[in-house]
Amino acid sequence: MDDEIRTFADGRPAAPPYPEEARAKARERLLREAREGRGFRFPKLGWQAAAAFGVTVALVGGVAVALSAQQPKLGVATSAATQSAAVSDGELRPRPGQFIMVASDTMYGSFTQTSGKMSRYLYRTHREIWQSADASADGLLLIAGLKPKPWPGEPLPEESRKWKGESWMQLASCPDRLAAFRTDYAYLSTLPDDPAAMRALLGKRQPGEKGEADRAAFTGVGDLFRETYMPKAQRDALFEAAKEIPGVQVAEGVEDSAGRQGVALGRESQGTLEQLIFDRDTHMLLGERHTVVDAKAAGAPVGSVLALTAQLKVSVVDRLPEHAGKVEGDSSCVPQPGATADSTGQPSAPPTAEVTVTATAPAPVETTVPPAAEPSNSVGAEPTDSANAEPTVTIEPSAPVPTKTG
């Protein structure tokens, strides 16, 4: 006896199609949120603390290769004081069980829609990510808020002040589930070293929907290069493959946020030219730059820069760093106990879900999830971990200093 319901079903109003522009905007907004990092939500630290975002960089017993901003090129050849055979020809040779650590500074657009009003600004972070070289152990991600910048031609919205403090997150490792989306060194080493095969792979890895294939392929290039390390043969192949994607433009002398110049592969998307900047010789990713080429589509004047990053350091370490603060757990895959191959033989303490090292103020943090959108069961704002760490070491975001012990 569903007559009444059928009456409503049959009488449902026609729905207009989702306008392409609104759809693209919503999707991009989602992607930007995704890039901001796994649920990082403005820990409550004052700017005083944030300015000295207390990062204890203790690369215990590891091989650290410094690639600071002072160096003209992000070559991996620069060896630290103590070095092992891991670096010989300028290439890192991570062993199973070790971690690849990448430090970067980023600036991307942040968009918030509050009751129909869009507020936007450019949020900036310093990121340090540790990923198991062979996906055998969980990784770790540090995101520290840097002072935001206004959207070109607009005042800095009040909410941008929330972008401060730091947050530590566990990155669960589940290579089986990630499959073709793995970004660990062991997996990347298996990618084709031939540009044509690599190009074919890009097409298959993220098959774009209707006419989006080229864009998806270019996105894939960024995903594979960003915060990763792969052997030179694969870097070269991926670089050459990216050049072959329709719409990709090559530009010389493009600067990353650390002022280093490189060769850029760029592609236009929604009014901005999205460039990946590479070291000309090593094809290491230096950074990214998004420049407005269509004011109307981008919502900012032509020539203004809406994203600018720099990967400052890529190194191999034996262990995850010790740090003060709370680690946001990542329960996305079953933890792999004992998988932390600690080649130093020292007892290691990889962070596991919900481990609290020194959590002083787990203050509830304002979330951007509207309260009304928190239903009883499945939907709700995730609790936010506030990493209120007492800064022990202060490092300049522009030139992280690798520390090596052991």
Partner: protein, 203 residues
């Protein structure tokens, strides 16, 4: 043949994943969540547009996926299809526009009476196509917000009772009994008259 093997491995995986696996993937690779958007955004938008009209629907759709992204860790992985979950979130987001929805329903419930008889046919068709028939709109005003949510999830989003239970976070039995009460109310509001027979005669 390393490359060949690799390519085969890749082909097995990508877009054939169900929603649940995709959401799991997005925990490690957050940008993967965009695939979920690609899959379901149009449908959520349609639902939002039916309930609130085209303009609010754009905001609502974006908001639904942002909320979903933020709470994806809580997704119940035993459900391969994320639609009920997304509709549950959509229901909450739409609820933030309750006043607007009430205004819209009230307005639509009066359209028929106020519409001039000489109204251009084609434009009248267009108007009615995107609007709810006045009788149905009036019936909707007789329901509570929660009843409206349930009715429209079933009638407009085509959710099964099980899906609706999942979306609203209540047992299926509760859904059945609520629907029963709701039907009685609707029947009374419709006065037992076929709304399709009545409406054109007003024009």
């Amino acid at each position: 043949m390393r490359e060949d093997r690799h390519v085969v491995g890749v082909q097995e995986k990508p877009e054939t994943l169900d929603d649940s696996a995709l959401i799991a993937q997005s925990e490690i690779d957050p940008e993967r969540f965009a695939v979920l958007f690609d899959r379901h955004a149009d449908e959520i938008h349609r639902y939002a547009a039916r309930r609130l009209g085209p303009e609010p629907a754009e905001d609502v759709t974006g908001e639904v996926f942002l909320v979903a992204f933020r709470v994806r860790a809580r997704y119940d992985r035993t459900w391969p299809d994320a639609r009920p979950w997304l509709y549950g979130i959509a229901t909450k987001v739409v609820a933030q526009h309750r006043r607007a929805e009430r205004r819209r329903i009230n307005a639509m419930s009066k359209v028929s009476a106020e519409r001039p008889g000489s109204f251009d046919d084609r434009s009248a068709d267009r108007v009615t196509a995107e609007q709810l028939q006045p009788r149905l709109a009036r019936a909707l005003t007789s329901l509570s917000a929660a009843e409206r949510d349930l009715l429209l999830l079933v009638a407009w989003a085509d959710l099964t009772y099980e899906d609706a239970a999942l979306a609203l976070g209540v047992p299926v039995g509760t859904i059945r009994s609520r629907l029963h009460r709701l039907r009685v109310k609707v029947r009374r509001a419709l006065g037992g008259i076929d709304p399709f027979a009545e409406e054109p005669q007003h024009g």
